[in-house]
Symmetry: C2
Subunit: 467 residues, 2 copies
């Protein structure tokens, strides 16, 4: 008869302790396959437990497959492998610690300190106060209609775009939307027929995501007007992902002539243009550059943008605007995907947009960043290495390029910077095919720089740049 001391059960319920004891005996081989367990009544009497306790333990063992029953004959041990002594568990690789930089120019940052947190919090409280529906109701797969309406209105009012809410797909950030586009345009059973052209230099995550999604991805060089058309034509690509309004990181604006030529390319080849409008909100002079989408009369352009730069990267919200033909395909092939953004955030952003707070914030940040940009450039011009730097900037965006006259390699500058607690970003990091013309060119992400600490920053950089 099975004998266990019930006193050692710690805080466990009796039935669970009994279940564990029998399980250990089965796994350890003390009880062997097809051996019959004592009847519930007999074991209960033997261990001075209630029959119901033994029954619960047997039921749990049966539910997990340690024992089986034969009608009117009782419980038997199921065929189970004896558990070998567990191998020493493999060590869990520790998480790489986030490095605290004294000066970080290398990563695109957003100054969150000016975000109207209290407005956002008030709108959130407002939505929460309207009860459970706002945080629990499912949204349409393309996103909350009110949010898509608010986005369409904003695109109309501030970018002159005629877009219907039906065309908008909301998703958890740009990278997720790239994944959807890889699936939407990847087409064919193997997805191999589609070739994505990406800008070189360009934002590396775009080609990383497309490649990880199994799409063929070719870097196509850009010239002073954006993506080089002849190179695009000979690349064999049928989808091209560009940022015509403000190329990252060079800041190039693609002129109207090239835009028209790109649209002709798409028309002739049946290709699709993905227009990433990242960062275009931070244009400091004149009116916004019209989007490619707004001059596309044939439905060849997918427009996409996120609120990562304009609100915060931690918001994880972006959207794309699909032309009718692709919208139909999306509904047919991908509409089984649930919207990836929590419904609460969608409600709050809808109100933030339609209440005018978003554009108010943008307008404030444009002023703020313009001033900061001038101050940073001023500080460079007044620095001890001023005669060795030249700027390349288009009065837009949260970064600019700075070419350094130096005999040192980018690599050695990076290493020295790192040892001094400074993170730099070089244009060469954005290249797929290295070009000597891009050497010694820093991408200065100035948005995270505190204007009151510029002297210290320049002193650090003087050390980094010393020949």
């Amino acid at each position: 008869m099975l004998t266990y001391s019930m006193e050692n059960r710690g805080g466990l319920p009796l039935y669970e302790y009994l279940y564990r004891c029998i399980r250990a005996d089965i796994l350890g081989g003390t009880l062997s396959t097809d051996e019959r367990l004592p009847s519930k009544r007999a074991l209960a009497e033997h261990l001075r437990l209630s029959v119901i306790t033994v029954e619960s333990a047997y039921q749990q063992l049966e539910a997990e497959g340690y024992v089986y029953t034969r009608p009117k004959r009782g419980f038997f041990v199921a065929p189970v492998e004896q558990t070998p002594r567990p191998a020493a568990p493999a060590p869990i690789p520790a998480e790489p610690p986030a490095r605290a930089w004294k000066l970080d120019l290398g990563r695109n940052q957003v100054d969150g300190s000016r975000f109207p947190v209290s407005t956002w919090a008030r709108l959130t409280r407002q939505v929460l106060s309207e009860g459970g529906a706002a945080i629990l109701s499912p949204t349409p797969h393309q996103g909350l209609y009110a949010l898509r309406q608010a986005i369409a209105d904003d695109l109309r009012d501030f970018k002159g775009m005629a877009v219907s809410p039906e065309q908008i797909v909301v998703g958890a950030g740009a990278e997720y939307l790239y994944m959807l586009l890889a699936q939407l345009l990847g087409g064919g059973p193997s997805g191999r027929e589609t070739v994505f052209a990406v800008e070189d230099p360009g934002y590396p995550k775009i080609r990383q995501v497309y490649s990880k999604c199994g799409a063929a991805c070719v870097p196509v060089p850009i010239d002073r007007q954006g993506m080089n058309l002849r190179a695009l034509e000979s690349s064999g690509a049928n989808v091209v992902h560009i940022s015509p309004t403000h190329h990252y990181p060079t800041g190039i604006v693609t002129p109207i002539g090239r835009r028209q030529a790109l649209l002709r390319w798409a028309e002739k080849s049946g290709g699709v243009i993905i227009e990433g409008d990242y960062d275009s909100e931070f244009r400091f002079t004149g009116r916004p550059i019209p989007t490619l989408q707004s001059i596309d009369t044939r439905g060849q352009v997918v427009y996409m943008n996120t609120f990562s730069q304009t609100i915060s990267p931690s918001m994880r919200m972006g959207f794309m605007v699909l032309p009718p033909r692709l919208l139909e395909r999306y509904r047919r092939e991908l509409d089984f995907y649930a919207c990836t953004v929590p419904v609460l955030e969608q409600h709050v952003l809808a109100r933030f947009l339609s209440g005018g707070y978003y554009e108010q914030h943008l307008s404030r940040m444009r002023k703020e960043y313009r001033a900061r940009r001038s101050a940073v450039i001023e500080a460079f011009r007044a620095s001890s290495f001023a005669n060795r730097v030249t700027f390349s900037e288009q009065g837009a965006g949260l970064h600019f390029l700075l070419r350094l006259d130096t005999r040192r390699s980018d690599e050695s500058l990076l290493r020295r910077a790192e040892s001094l607690g400074v993170r730099l970003g070089f244009l060469s990091e954005y290249e797929a095919v290295p070009s000597p013309a891009h050497a010694h060119t820093l991408v200065v992400n100035y948005a995270g720089l505190d204007p009151s600490h510029l002297d210290g920053a320049m002193a650090l950089l003087a050390q980094v740049f010393a020949e």
Copy 2:
């Protein structure tokens, strides 16, 4: 000289109106390529505008590439295609309206009315009151550490799993995590070496997502113990996605012997097992079935779960637990992906978990669903068609199977149901390879059924099921 009437400009600033007029003349061909524009001063005098207004208009035209400058010679019209009359825009396909069902048994639902909305709202307000950091700071790519710690604690306390927060990756719902897994395990330059086995019948989105990600995906039949091992071995798969604790939609629990055999398969073949633990929280008798992950000593199992069933599908939050070897690969290959869940939600869920509210809610819902399940089954047993139905259920989950004795096809039952405003779900919809053994079997998702409306529901079903 260019002549425009400035009175027609509506609400536009003078410079913008002027820019639009000149742009229209360039696109319309009135101004031709390489034609020289009047000097700023001359045009300003001619139109009685300030020089600065003309300058702003010219600058905007230059920024967009409609004109170019030659040093000391002024502004010239750039080569631009004349805009053809735009084709009539293609119609935007309307969004399929959500159908309102009188009775919906076909879709897995969650009863949100019992969710402690006020607790969630209070925690949200608490996080918001702690300032901007909570909604603006970036989180680590795998998710907020506090949230991963809270998840690890919950897995330890309620599922007996020994998991470190470092192993957890948080993402915007199960479908997004499937995409990451397809990328992580898809391996090889083409991803073609990896074959994913999925359960047949099984949750269709799993194979849909893997297939859309370009992964080869084979359905493998299940038997009474879960995935059939011989079929798995001959399938050529090296990754298998299973739900051993509570198979959807059959409710099968994979017994310990089969679990061990699956682990041996993974060990011998170098394969990976993805354990979807969907719905396992709603087990109504005994203790929870231990997860496969918890008996995996060789690091072959990826565990995944979401809060869609336990909190709400609109929450869009799930997580996976990677074994050490795959965690290392994840960090090497996929750690560039930013976490897809907004940081606010992560903070709130972390507190909801660590404050004990989550398990409190689960325990309340288990009671609630158990009662509802009994009431629904009772109602079926008391219905006019009681003698034509048999149940198959394992005392767990938010659905059960109901086999109907009928001469009608599933298809014709579905159509009749639809015409009566009833949505049904059949087991056959979950099959990749149709099996006659699964005909006439309804998947009854009872969680959304209001117990006080069961009489009406049975009357409707009596009409649907009439021979």
